[in-house]
């Protein structure tokens, strides 16, 4: 441990009650970004953060966008490693309100079997998480007067409503925001004892397929046998997207899918991930992906093709003997490595189009395309942060993957040209986006301590 660190950790422990009070203040602001009735609350949360960061000596301001404002602040050392910290201060709506055990915007400290928690909308996603970083800065500044790194804050107010202003904002302010590395605090622990740095995020390509057949729904008695049924065409197309080994059959689909390095595989094997427990929580037992792959590999490092929705014909109660005029499906591909979402979309559409018989026509609707993010973990900050996290938590930190997409990491790479370290302290049972959201006080406390260790380690890396 560096000599600078110990007094800061002590300061964090002493100041914890006040840190918690400040988090409560922020949680009391109902900053629901998707609901115009809460526009003033969103602005108030931005003002609150500007005030806090200004009080800590940062040059902080609220930048207008066509939507909700961006809170930007600069400070810290005048030289050395430059970090950009990203978090978001808006929250999800709270309905169904009747399922909450207390007011979502009146934070409560509760004792649970797994320890003390703070319960409120945004406690975990993302106000509790972003406050771990601000409180880490506060403690360091209180002890040392300045930070060992250059620091820029970029706190978004539209993350829960699709981030419509984010990309234009990043493009317009690229020079002001560019740093050596981004820290994104919107992810979770691997488990209650094991911190994680997310270094691989799968990409996503979504497409909707509509097979059009007869001009109208037909009577299956009068026409059945002679008339083309688009639902039959669609099920054949969808079924043939996978072979009997669970692999996707699109030509070239695996061309840009790398095998994970042996060292990473060994690390993942050491995590003690229990597929039965993971699947058991949702009523399943057997990993269902590619034959011969581990469950973690399936989730973090292998691409997928899934039917997210499909509909055709009569789907109400009872029975109606129609031949449907159309059948449609929403299909998405999770992407890894260097898979190009546009190339995959082209391959998918070519595959479908080839299988559409003479009496049908196909229509496609595009639903987004983002490549996978794979961080350059050879950057010394990654190893430094991993060691720092391992020092704080009961078990060593792991480089993990994430099955879902976190678009901000991709934008930082493509627009600002920098890698991101995704570090967060949320737990799987935090009920984010659901009633009774909570954040463990252990996540909050160790989270603050983790950040000072990480800042210290990176400054010396």
């Amino acid at each position: 441990m560096s000599t600078a660190l110990s007094p800061v950790l002590d300061r964090i422990d002493q100041d914890l009650p006040e840190s918690l009070d400040r988090l409560k203040d922020l949680l009391r602001i109902a900053s629901i970004s998707t609901d115009p009735a809460h526009d003033k609350d969103v602005a108030q949360a931005a003002d609150w953060l500007v005030q806090e960061l200004s009080d800590l000596g940062f040059d902080a301001r609220k930048d207008a966008t066509p939507g909700h404002p961006m809170v930007v602040a600069k400070g810290g050392a005048s030289a050395g490693t430059h970090l950009l910290f990203y978090g978001h201060y808006d929250v999800q709506p709270v309905d169904p309100l009747e399922l909450w055990h207390s007011d979502p915007f009146d934070p409560q400290i509760e004792d649970t079997a797994a320890g003390r928690v703070i319960r409120a909308r945004g406690a975990s996603d993302d106000k509790g998480q972003l406050m771990t970083f601000i409180e880490a800065c506060r403690a360091w500044l209180a002890v040392h007067g300045t930070l060992p790194v250059q620091l820029t804050f970029c706190l978004e107010g539209e993350e829960e409503s699709g981030s419509p202003s984010l990309v234009p904002y990043l493009k317009a302010h690229a020079d002001a925001l560019r740093a050596d590395l981004a820290l994104i605090c919107d992810t979770g622990l691997f488990d209650a004892q094991t911190p994680a740095i997310t270094t691989m995020l799968r990409g996503l390509m979504g497409d909707e397929v509509i097979i059009h057949g007869p001009a109208r729904d037909l009577h299956s008695g009068l026409f059945g046998g002679a008339a083309m049924n688009p639902a039959r065409v669609l099920t054949r197309i969808l079924a043939d997207l996978h072979d009997d080994q669970g692999r996707v059959t699109l030509p070239g689909f695996y061309d840009d899918v790398p095998e994970i390095p042996d060292a990473l595989r060994a690390q993942w094997d050491g995590l003690g991930f229990d597929p039965q427990a993971f699947l058991g929580a949702v009523g399943l037992k057997h990993p269902a992906g590619e034959a011969g792959r581990s469950a973690l590999e399936m989730l973090w490092a292998r691409p997928t093709c899934e039917i997210n929705g499909m509909i055709a014909g009569y789907t109400g109660a009872g029975f109606k003997t129609v031949l449907p005029a159309r059948a449609s499906a929403k299909v998405s591909f999770r992407l890894v490595g260097q898979q190009d979402p546009h190339k995959i979309r082209d391959a998918f559409r070519a595959y479908v189009t080839k299988r559409v018989p003479a009496d049908c026509r196909v229509e496609f609707i595009e639903h987004g395309a983002s490549p996978a993010s794979v961080m350059e973990t050879s950057h010394p900050a990654f190893e430094a942060a991993r060691q720092a996290l391992s020092d704080e938590w009961p078990k060593p930190a792991a480089f993990v993957g994430a099955g879902g997409s976190i678009p901000i990491a991709g934008y930082f790479k493509t627009i600002l040209g920098m890698d991101s370290m995704l570090i967060g302290f949320a737990k799987d049972d935090d009920q984010i986006h659901s009633p009774n959201e909570k954040y463990d006080l252990d996540s909050f406390h160790r989270g603050i301590r983790s950040w000072v260790r990480i800042i210290d380690a990176i400054s010396r890396a």
Copy 2:
């Protein structure tokens, strides 16, 4: 032509305006069986028929059922062939009313490019058709004083609302209703010039399949790859129901499917059926069923398996990256020959169950089962009726199949032990069940003349 026939045909021609007036009287009664607001109208239509049949000398009565009454009448010769005539006096609802060009219950005579028509709800389905038979009896009785056959009428008032009382009624009155042969007047001409006797009706087995997977919809990023997707399971099951020749793959499916006799095949080939025109009317071009079968064979004499509806996951606007908790499909099989619907259901369920992987379970919902009806055309009445129809219409009559089911023919066979001759004069463009229903005056006039020819021919067969 028998000497008895000619004066009856003349009488029909002379009496046509009055026949039409009587049809109009019946059409003015809004006997919508499915709408309780019209219960009195349904009863009034029954009373009207009882009165008409009584006036003609039949022993007619209105028999109560738990639903709408059955009109039953007996009369005609005291010996000789005994015929049961079936028709229905209830009609479909009229909505959307705004699409009608005139009041659905104020019948209008209109000149169209294809000839004169009478336009009203029920004009074709089935009041116009059943009145062809009553008017035929009236003409014969007017000329000869009695009929050359024994005759029983069975006129239903619930055909358009699922015939809930029919089977119990037939069972309870089997002895009173049993005849040598049933005449069912609820079908159509093959084309405007070619009359038809429907001798093959496909059966139907409907089943709903629900594949249950995870306990709830899952995030396709967090779980995709490792978790079983029921939509994938379902599409594979549905796709594999057909081979690449369009044949159904259920084991034993074709065991009880006979090839049609050469003579019937030759008759069908001679009908000049134009698959392009038939499919063209609904925006299609290519017969899509079993390879190597003619379109008429596909429609009338071959069994099918069709997806009538399916649904899984998110089907609204936009995109939602869920792995659905369940996926379901409504599947129906049109049956021919001696195919046993219960055996086919068992085979289908065994086929599905075998393909459900460990992490899914399947639920089935039964949606009806009726075997195909194949009439014993060796009964001399069939050839007699075919000749009689050929004498009346521009082109020779054909024995045809029907792709849909007409349950009454099956009930007459299974409950009363008698075959049915399905003869009717409706045209494909009659818009039954739709706004602006009509019946061609040519159908009405030649229909009446057809029945006296048929009655005469059967009485002498």
